[in-house]
């Protein structure tokens, strides 16, 4: 290969969508956060976590903004601890399950 910029991006083919993080994130959150809406601290775009870009073969789950590709969330389970870094999520809006919604209503 003589032109490094002309090659196929193999990491792009390994990229998953954020819904694939649902199982691991369920260890921490009592609600399904893949339907949560997150505002990117870098570019301000709001999108569902499930629609973010997930890189899962690094030393941690790395979730990136689908608009600007900056890091939104990092997550790992390591040595009996859950590590969560939400530095790139300026605001996370999580929909409560229907039952608790009703108890708040009335």
């Amino acid at each position: 290969m003589t032109d490094p910029t002309g090659t196929v991006d193999i990491t792009a083919s390994r990229r998953l969508d954020g819904n694939a993080a649902a199982g691991m994130l369920a260890e921490l959150f009592a609600v399904d956060v893949t339907t949560a809406r997150s505002r990117c601290a870098s570019c301000g775009t709001t999108s569902m976590l499930g629609a973010h870009h997930l890189y899962a073969d690094a030393p941690a789950l790395v979730l990136r903004c689908p608009s600007c590709t900056d890091v939104v969330l990092r997550y790992a389970i390591r040595e009996g601890r859950i590590l969560l870094d939400l530095r790139g999520a300026q605001l996370l809006a999580v929909l409560l399950p229907a039952a608790s919604n009703e108890s708040n209503g009335a």
Binding site: T5, T7, D9, I10, Y55, P59, D70
Partner: protein, 201 residues
């Protein structure tokens, strides 16, 4: 075994387990790619590499200027924190001694910054005296983008996350500033022979 000879320039006659740090396995001919993000696609005519202090750019090279610097070939063992090790990897590039030159006397650490936003921190005295390189060639070929091309750091005596892919800038600092993985619970130093994987190890 002295610190400086660890993993460096050993013959194939050495027993593999003597070259394998604790908790590592020999990955053989494979070269795993661990992606924390998209692969940057920086064209060589737009690529540059620079050394900064806290306020100013001190030195800068275009691709052609970088390629004209004195080059070295190194054969080293590399160790990834995800437990694979790879023996006798052959690289070519420029020693960080050449790139850093005479640094300000207050410099104690460097922060390497890459296309795509990745950063990693290193003590100055671990990247000088022939212990670190900026490499653009792997096994005689231009370094592939998935392995950090056009150019990456090579700091083989530390876990491979310290060998930043797609590196474009070194900032000289009087203090330590933890990088991308170092701020996520990974060890600040990362010596594979001491198994410095996570903070607290």
């Amino acid at each position: 075994m002295t610190v400086l000879s660890r993993g460096f320039r050993r013959g194939r006659s050495d027993r593999a387990d003597d070259r394998l740090p604790p908790g590592q396995y020999d990955v053989g001919d494979a070269f795993p790619v661990l992606s924390a993000g998209p692969t940057p696609q920086t064209r060589l005519e737009r690529w540059d590499f620079s050394v900064h202090d806290q306020t100013d750019e001190l030195r800068r090279w275009t691709w052609d200027e970088f390629r004209a610097l004195p080059r070295e070939a190194v054969s080293v063992d590399i160790h990834c924190v995800t437990t694979w090790s790879k023996f006798d990897t052959r690289w070519e590039g420029v020693s960080l001694d050449t790139l850093l030159g005479d640094v300000p006397g207050t410099t104690r650490y460097i922060l390497a910054a890459s296309d795509g936003g990745y950063t990693t921190n290193l003590p100055l005295d671990e990247v000088t005296a022939g212990r670190a390189w900026l490499v653009d060639t792997y096994e005689g070929q231009p370094l592939a983008p998935e392995h950090g091309g056009p150019a990456r750091l090579l700091v083989p005596h530390l876990y491979f996350w310290k060998s930043a892919k797609w590196v474009r800038r070194l900032t000289l600092l009087p203090y330590d500033e933890p990088g991308f993985w170092e701020t996520f619970g990974y060890h600040n130093h990362g010596d594979p022979w001491r198994e410095e994987r996570y903070s607290g190890d």
